[in-house]
Symmetry: C2
Subunit: 210 residues, 2 copies
DNA sequence: ATAATATTGTGATATATGTCGCATTAAATA
DNA sequence: TATTTAATGCGACATATATCACAATATTAT
């Protein structure tokens, strides 16, 4: 496994797909071909091979790639090998859903606590996670060295809460609000843009319907 | 507004962002410049102009674009002008969150009903939407000419439920499960891939941390 | 032992997306 | 009225991503 310079964003986005397949295959087989992965995902094998080359793994001609080596490489690249603690802000419908989604653990994200401004919810537990007053966010996150904040608040307060998060030492925001956040460029923002996704769906549907 | 051949996916994904800004501006001003839109979104003005050119709108040099014309063009392109009915399958945490999310209406999506297999939930209402037995899905959707299915079931049953949806006449699936669906290529699938999004966040964070 | 097959890796090419430079236009200003 | 300014539009260019063609390699079958 050689050293790697940088991996493209599209490649990074496909890694979880590969990982899911690799985990399935791992108990059954030692090697896997790019063809097999590509077929299962509806991709081109050449793309899979390029991606795997990109993360620094080499396969063996006529044999394929070593499954465990692949898993290791992806985990390492993604930081899945070191579980990351995160906090969530906003316990509305979406926030609660995210708290209850046990799939994140599989990808190394561990939501340790939630924050909200609503006094009726503060002090409760949602899906086993304690809900704190957003006022104490700063002291808590700093003490726990938490880097990731999951933002699931109403759009109107998104920017304000984001500022609070950053002041509290959060480096990375996973933004589920539709608001474009204005942040310093040393802060990482990853947008989950449902409106964009729906827009793509609509336009494809429109194209078919006529 | 001239005829247009096709709009790129990245452009389509940015349209909701533009729309949000246009709606804000509409009451206050008749025209808007690409510079202003770009600044608010942290984009390049040339990109905004190319996007707007792409959807077939022309601006006026030294003046800008007509706000109402822009709104009209985006709505028409996206099918937002005709509200689309959809059904949702799977009323777990995520499904409930989606049912309660009132933002969809703004983008022309109207979830009229939900379906689940759990007899304890069937017959109830969630956020005002009735929950039906998944067994009756077919008859209902066909009768109502519904084209869009929102898939929020557990991964294990995703493919099975997707097949059911397609048999019931659904043309487009908004897939919130992490499963790659195997469908005929006349069926549109738009994937909301949280794992991919999280992967991007992790890799950026990893790049910064070292 | 030889041939056929399945597979990787690489350099070249194609396509998609984003950006630049600059001429043109119209409003605002001097 | 002339000049400056803010804006669009277009063709060329740059970058990012995906795909192709083909040589090299190891396994399997003949």
């Amino acid at each position: 496994m050689k050293e790697l310079t940088s991996v493209s964003v599209p490649t990074v986005r496909r890694l979880p797909l590969y990982m899911a397949i690799l985990k399935e295959i791992e108990p059954a087989s030692e090697h896997v071909s790019s063809t097999l992965i590509a077929d299962r995902l509806g991709l081109e094998q050449i793309q899979v091979r390029k991606d795997l080359a990109g993360i620094g793994v080499t396969g063996q001609p006529a044999v394929g790639f070593n499954v465990r080596e692949l898993i290791g490489a992806i985990e390492q690249l993604r930081g899945w090998d070191t579980m990351r603690d995160a906090i969530l802000v906003g316990t509305g419908n979406l926030g609660q859903a995210l708290l209850g989604y046990d799939g994140f653990a599989r990808y190394g994200l561990n939501i340790v606590a939630a924050f909200d401004a609503n006094p009726e919810i503060i002090g409760m537990k949602i899906h086993g996670k304690p809900v704190f007053d957003i006022e104490v966010l700063s002291s808590l996150t700093e003490r726990m060295h938490i880097q990731i904040g999951v933002l699931a608040v109403p759009g109107k307060v998104a920017q304000t809460v984001a500022d609070t998060l950053i002041q509290a030492g959060i480096h990375a925001i996973w933004n589920f609000t539709p608001v474009k956040l204005n942040v310093d460029n040393n802060v990482i923002v990853e947008q989950v843009d449902l409106a964009a996704s729906l827009a793509v769906l609509s336009s494809k549907l429109k194209a078919v319907n006529k």
